[in-house]
């Protein structure tokens, strides 16, 4: 298992590569996810120790910054959302509406188009990934989550 310093280095490398490829929005999302604080229940250090509520009227909730391994997991979750969940979402809408994703489009109101900067114009085909390429992506993503992902999810008490 990598040390915390190694998880931190891996996380820093991911951020650096995202920015090098000018994936600025994805890099920002990764950073925001990694910066999200963990909310945990206070746990007595030994049986019989007073709880916070018993000691005072404090909450039993404790918040803290993520450890490097948890920041890594959060970062990989962002990648999974874009690379796995969003393409599946696009395909599923096509199935439910019985349309080819290329024939489902999102457009700004034409009356407001001139001032609607930032309003996306796209079809769901832009969000889909062909099955063969999706498999390659999934396989590469799994290498990032191996040993980190699931174990860390169970450890970080955020759900």
């Amino acid at each position: 298992m990598p040390t915390q310093a190694e998880w931190a280095a891996a996380y820093a490398y991911l951020r650096e590569r995202l920015r090098a490829f000018e994936l600025i929005e994805a890099a920002s999302e990764v950073e925001a996810a990694a910066a999200t604080r963990v909310v945990e229940q206070y746990a007595p250090a030994y049986p019989g120790q007073f709880t916070l509520t018993e000691l005072s009227e404090q909450s039993e909730t404790v918040t803290r910054a993520r450890r490097p391994d948890e920041a890594w997991t959060a970062a990989v979750t962002v990648l999974q959302t874009y690379l796995v969940e969003v393409p599946r979402l696009a395909a599923r809408i096509g199935e439910l509406l019985e349309r080819d994703p290329a024939n489902i489009v999102f457009l700004p109101d034409a009356r407001e188009e001139e001032v609607a900067e930032g309003v996306p114009k796209f079809s769901l085909a832009d969000l889909t990934i062909p099955p063969a390429q999706a498999e390659v992506l999934l396989s590469e993503l799994q290498r990032l989550t191996t040993s980190g992902g699931e174990q860390l999810d169970a450890r970080s008490d955020t759900r």
Binding site: P2, A10, T36
Partner: protein, 230 residues
């Protein structure tokens, strides 16, 4: 599988970002993924109506009419009455009840404040009147369902749910108000467990068929209760 080393992890990053398909997907505008998630919830509402015996849900283009070849959704919240694009909505019928389902439409609340509702159901009569007059629909008795939809890429906080609670307070009582997102979080679940809060659907994702079934069942149940005379 053995634990990865730092070298394994950096090599995996290089391989992943070396794929053009990965870079293209990571270049997506955040707004685009948000809009897609709303369209997903809209599509599930269509499936829910169609799954009720006697239920009908027809896609309609506001300009072209029923079953448009290209389905056009709003790229940003806007007017239900707008005809500048062939914006789509669902024309639904359950027995004698007629209603429509819209995506990203602005409503006027009980307080007269304007609210954007990601996915909404309103009476067909009211929607037709809105299209005739060009006025905003209202969150009064004609609003049947309101869903706030959010595709989270990381742990959700309660900020958006808090905003939606405020919106719901500015609506008259209706069939179903739902806060729909793709990630569960204890804080969010606790916040939405309060009395009078919107119904939480906090793990709705195409990656989890059970979550879709649960959402469909709740929408179906509410609609069936509302239209017992089908």
């Amino acid at each position: 599988m053995p634990d990865p080393t730092l070298a394994d992890l950096t090599a995996a990053i290089d391989r992943l970002l070396g794929l053009s398909v990965a870079r293209a997907a990571l270049q997506l505008n955040r707004n685009a993924t948000e809009r897609a998630y709303e369209a997903y919830v809209f599509s599930l509402c269509a499936a829910a109506v169609r799954s009720i015996p006697g239920g009908r849900a027809t896609l309609v283009g506001v300009v072209s009419g029923p079953n448009p070849a290209t389905v056009v959704f709003r790229g940003a919240p806007g007017s239900m009455a707008s005809r500048t694009q062939d914006f789509a909505y669902l024309d639904c019928q359950l027995g004698a009840r007629q209603f429509e389902i819209h995506v990203d439409v602005e409503y006027e609340g009980q307080s007269r404040a304007t609210h954007e509702i990601d996915v909404s159901g309103c009476s067909a009569e009211h929607a037709r009147q809105v299209r005739r007059t060009g006025q905003a629909p209202r969150t009064n008795k004609h609003l049947l369902m309101a869903f706030e939809c959010k595709l989270y890429t990381s742990d959700p906080g309660v900020a958006l749910a808090r905003t939606f609670v405020g919106l719901v307070a500015d609506c008259s009582t209706n069939l179903l108000n739902g806060f729909v997102c793709n990630r569960r979080h204890r804080g969010l679940s606790r916040y939405l467990s309060r009395s009078g809060a919107p119904e939480p659907f906090t793990e709705l994702s195409p990656l989890d068929p059970d979550s879709e079934t649960e959402f469909l069942n709740v929408v179906k149940h509410r609609l069936k209760r509302w239209s017992p005379d089908r």
